[in-house]
């Protein structure tokens, strides 16, 4: 299963690759990275919705995470990818908006990677 991580911080790639190195090595998880909402949309377009789980930051320059979520949910329906939103602002409104737009989960920075790993595995083995 491919997981697409969307964040404007480029080092997020090194971090995820190390945090999930065991899962990547065993082939349990496969990661792809996009550094903006635009890149994420291009990736999804090119890969024919290969990614079934998307983790996106909300605050990014250009297309925001929420806008990205809206477009993904609008465009990819059969079956819709799982989208988990991540934000530094854990405010209620963002949460509500993300959930209305169809986000499957809503996480707050700083990320608890152990928890995230559990969540991802939960989706994987569901």
């Amino acid at each position: 299963m491919k997981i697409l991580v969307v964040d404007d911080e480029k080092d997020i790639q090194a971090l995820f690759e190390q945090r999930f190195r065991k899962e990547i090595r065993s082939g349990e998880m496969e990661f792809a990275f996009a550094f903006s909402g635009e890149e994420a949309l291009i990736f999804l377009e090119d890969s024919g919705q290969e990614a079934v789980l998307i983790l996106s930051d909300i605050n990014m320059p250009g297309i925001s995470g929420l806008e990205l979520l809206r477009r993904i949910k609008e465009k990819y329906k059969e079956p819709p990818p799982i989208v988990m939103m991540i934000t530094a602002y854990g405010d209620n409104d963002n949460h509500q908006t993300a959930m209305h737009l169809g986000a499957n989960d809503f996480l707050t920075k700083p990320l608890d990677f152990n928890f995230l790993k559990e969540q991802l595995k939960g989706y994987l083995h569901d």
Binding site: M1, K2, D11, Q18, P61, P79, P80, A88, D93, P110
Partner: protein, 817 residues
């Protein structure tokens, strides 16, 4: 692509029990979980589950299945049913293969399905053959095959289906190939063929189920094309002769149809018949099997429809008191979404009619305005609705147009009704205006008072200074007089009038004493006055310093949230890389103990990279803190000019301002654009000061666009007051642009917004101290004035260009030398 939903469901209907009964091949049951649960339907949405097994096991699974298939073929005689199940699984594996697209597995899927078809026919396995057609159809759709090819396939499917169904009257029919074909025709704008196909289906239908589905499709079809009498004729049939309801989907379909029929009945003023349809809305609650599929959303939906329909009927009967209890029970949210997103703006319209009927005009007006506002913004809602409709294979464009024209007509009618209510409305508006005037008068008076106080303080200080100077003059004059007097005394003495000497001396002494006393008194007075003047001056100076500091702190406060956000990111990285490095060190130790030096080297390299990342992000955080401290630093000597990269400075403050505002108010949103001159030379400025100016201008720009965005979303009533371009065509996109440029011997930094601009009447005042348009307590009124002073101190200029309704551009010019 979207038209496939029913077929996909059909494939999923391939239940686990089929496997359980007929299958027992080598691979473990767990490996096949995905076949059953590959896609799950949860609350009307498709959710992928169990997909993790694909990359690891799909190819090996296909391998195992092929092997099993070969073994089966060698058997004499080979089991047909085993072959069928193996073919079906192989087809599914290829269809769901992660590299389906890349490796063009569509052909493999099709070849297995075409093998399946004759086998299924021979075995009389109707379900499997039907699934094979469904699967082939799905592949055709994915491959975007030409319509005639698809039509042929569906006709084959229909013929095969008719051949099977002939003798099985008791069996529930499966008319889906007919309806799929009709939808295909309708989707390619051939409504006539679509209609014919379903009428044929109705003629040929043997089972109640098929008749029911055909009637339902036709009823909705005629409704879409505005043939309302025909629609009613078929929809009535659907409600009157429905098969026993034993699962959720038909229950929901029946409820939908009943709701639509009721709406049509209301239009025809057949109100009692409409009311009689209310129980059907709740049909899912009455079937035991359906309850599992009921959730809060569907319950809310039933509640919404039941109460809306009942209220509508009673209002149409002009019985507002009977309508009221239903009106009150209409939920405002369905599944967490506002009802405006999911339906027509009935809610406000019904309340409006209710208040109109009980002759409560102010309330009627209130809901009318709300209704108009909602109607006005339904363009967006309509799009969502259109998307939903499209999902149900409905010809969107026509329906959308029809919907729109109906709403336009409604609006026209309502606008006319609104004219009757103009008087009340004007009174209301007058009242609000008067109140607003009062408020602005009060705040203006407050400001004037403040300015007057400051002016008075200044005048007092001046007066005291003058008095001090005067007093000093008097002092010197008195001293000169005393000296004259003394000289005169000596002259008298010189005349030799010794007898008078003592008395003269006495007199002189007394005079001197008097003068001295007077002088002392005067000196004391002067000192007192001087002290007073000095302390006033000091007070004024410190007040001024305090004001400047307050402005600095205010801008710092605006920055704080932005800074917190900017600092959080690097700190997260530091923590994360540190944590993961610790884990990796443990692994390194294990590898060394096992003697796996290559692995150990690789980890050591990663660790080094991690340490570099930790250092990098640590420095990033500390530079943010450093900048923050510099921003609030006091005193002149702390400030000196340094060669500064203006682009970097502008970028930093743009981000800080954005995140600051974003964190404070999450409704805030704006597009940031930068046009930085890449060849901009370093400029010698006091960076903290220029930063403060930039922050100020950027904050103002964001404030302006946010203000306009808030008014752009205002209801219809105010539409003509809005800035040009906000209400027509494209929606308003708040944008702030920062650009830099070198021209001749100076650099230009401009901060541009597309807010509402600065009105002519206040354009002159914006650089004056204490002038602000923000509500009391939100602005010090010193921002632009300080900015102006800072730029002047740099030998530059701060200018503004603005157009009401289009935006403002503030430009800083700084000379290079």
């Amino acid at each position: 692509m979207l038209k496939i939903a029913p077929i996909l469901l059909l494939l999923l209907g391939f239940s686990s029990t089929v496997f359980a009964q007929k299958m027992n091949i080598g691979a473990s049951q767990a490996d096949f979980r995905f076949l059953v649960t590959g896609v799950k339907r949860i609350e009307g949405k498709y959710v992928p589950v169990g997909l993790n097994r694909y990359p690891a096991s799909m190819d090996s699974l296909i391998g195992a299945l092929k092997k099993q298939f070969a073994v089966e073929l060698k058997k004499k005689p080979a089991s047909d049913s085993m072959q069928l199940v193996l073919l079906e699984r192989l087809s599914y594996c290829y269809a769901e293969h992660p590299s389906y697209k890349k490796l063009n597995y569509a052909d493999s899927v099709l070849s297995y399905e075409y093998k399946k078809l004759p086998l299924a026919r021979k075995m009389q396995e109707r379900d499997i053959a039907s699934r094979a057609y469904g699967s082939i159809w799905w592949q055709y759709q994915l491959a975007k095959k030409a319509i005639p090819v698809k039509v042929k396939l569906l006709n084959d499917w229909i013929n095969e289906y008719n051949a099977w169904i002939k003798n099985e009257e008791s069996e529930l029919g499966r008319g889906s190939p007919y309806l799929t074909l009709a939808n295909l025709y309708e989707g390619s704008n051939d409504e006539e063929s679509a209609e014919k196909t379903v009428i044929k289906m109705l003629d040929e239908a043997i089972t109640t189920q098929d008749k029911w589905m055909a009637n339902d499709w036709l009823g909705h079809f005629y409704f879409r094309y505005e043939k309302k009498d025909k629609a009613i004729q078929y929809l009535k049939e659907v409600v009157a002769n429905h098969p026993p309801i034993t699962s959720y989907d038909p229950a929901a379909a029946l409820a939908n149809t009943a709701f639509l029929l009721a709406q049509l009945k209301i239009e025809k003023n057949e109100l009692d018949e409409a009311l009689a349809l209310v129980p059907y809305l709740n049909i899912a609650n009455k079937c035991n099997n359906c309850r599992g599929s009921l959730n809060s959303a569907t319950t809310e939906d039933v509640e919404y429809r039941t109460n809306t329909l009942s209220a509508e009927v009673f209002l149409a009967k002009k019985e507002p008191t009977k309508a009221l209890p239903f009106l009150k029970k209409i939920p405002k949210m369905i599944n967490g979404e506002s009802i405006h997103k999911t339906s027509n703006p009935q809610f406000e319209n019904l309340w409006y009619q209710y208040y109109l009927q009980i002759q409560d005009y102010p309330q009627a007006l209130f809901f009318l305005e709300k209704y108009l506002a909602v109607v006005d913004s339904t363009q967006k809602a309509n799009k969502t609705m259109a998307a939903r409709i499209r999902k149900n294979n409905i010809d969107v464009e026509r329906n959308y147009e029809a919907l729109l024209s109906k709403e336009k007509a409604d609006r026209e009618r309502l606008l006319q009704e609104q004219r009757f209510l103009t008087l009340e409305k004007q009174n209301e508006i007058e009242k609000i205006k008067a109140e607003a005037d009062k408020k602005s008068l009060a705040s203006r008076a407050e400001k004037a008072e403040l300015q007057r106080k400051i002016e008075t303080a200044k005048l007092q200080a001046n007066a005291k200074k003058k008095k001090q100077e005067q007093d000093f003059k008097i002092f010197r004059l008195n001293e000169a007089m005393a000296a004259q007097r003394r000289t005169r005394s000596f002259l008298v003495l010189g005349l030799g009038l010794f007898g008078l000497f003592a008395s003269l001396l006495f007199y002189q002494n007394r005079q001197k004493q008097k003068a001295n006393a007077l002088l002392k008194q005067q000196r004391d007075e002067i000192n007192l006055q001087r002290d007073k003047a000095e302390s006033t001056l000091h007070e004024l100076k410190s007040t001024q310093a305090q004001l400047i500091q307050a402005e600095k702190l205010a801008s710092l406060g605006e920055l704080t949230a932005g800074i917190a956000h900017e600092i959080q990111n690097p700190l997260n990285f530091v923590n994360n890389f540190a944590e993961v490095s610790a884990e990796m060190l443990d692994e390194l130790k294990e590898d060394l103990a096992k003697g796996e030096t290559d692995e150990a080297h690789a980890i050591a390299n990663d660790l080094k990279t991690n340490l570099q990342k930790i250092t990098h992000h640590g420095q990033r955080a500390s530079s943010i803190v450093k900048n923050m401290l510099e921003h609030s630093r006091q005193g002149r000597d702390a400030m000196h000019r340094v060669s500064t990269d203006i682009n970097a400075l502008a970028d930093e403050y743009l981000r800080l301002a954005y995140h600051g505002l974003r964190a404070k108010d999450n409704t805030f949103n704006a597009t940031m654009e930068t046009h930085f001159d890449p060849d901009l030379p370093l400029v010698s400025v006091i960076p903290q000061d220029i930063g403060r100016v930039l922050l100020n201008l950027i904050n103002n720009a964001f404030y302006a666009v946010h203000q306009r965005a808030t008014t752009a979303g205002a209801p219809l009533v105010g539409a003509h007051d809005q800035p040009k371009g906000a209400h027509m065509g494209r929606p308003y996109q708040p944008t702030v642009t920062v650009s830099t440029q070198k021209i001749d011997n100076q650099i230009l930094i401009s901060v541009q917004d597309n807010g509402s601009g600065i009105p002519e009447s206040i354009r002159e005042k914006i650089f004056q101290p204490f002038f602000t348009t923000k509500p009391a307590g939100q602005g010090t009124g010193l921002g632009l004035s300080l900015s102006y002073d800072i730029i002047k101190a740099h030998g530059g200029e701060l200018k503004v260009e603005t157009k009401e309704g289009e935006g403002s551009t503030f430009t800083i010019q700084i000379p290079l030398s």
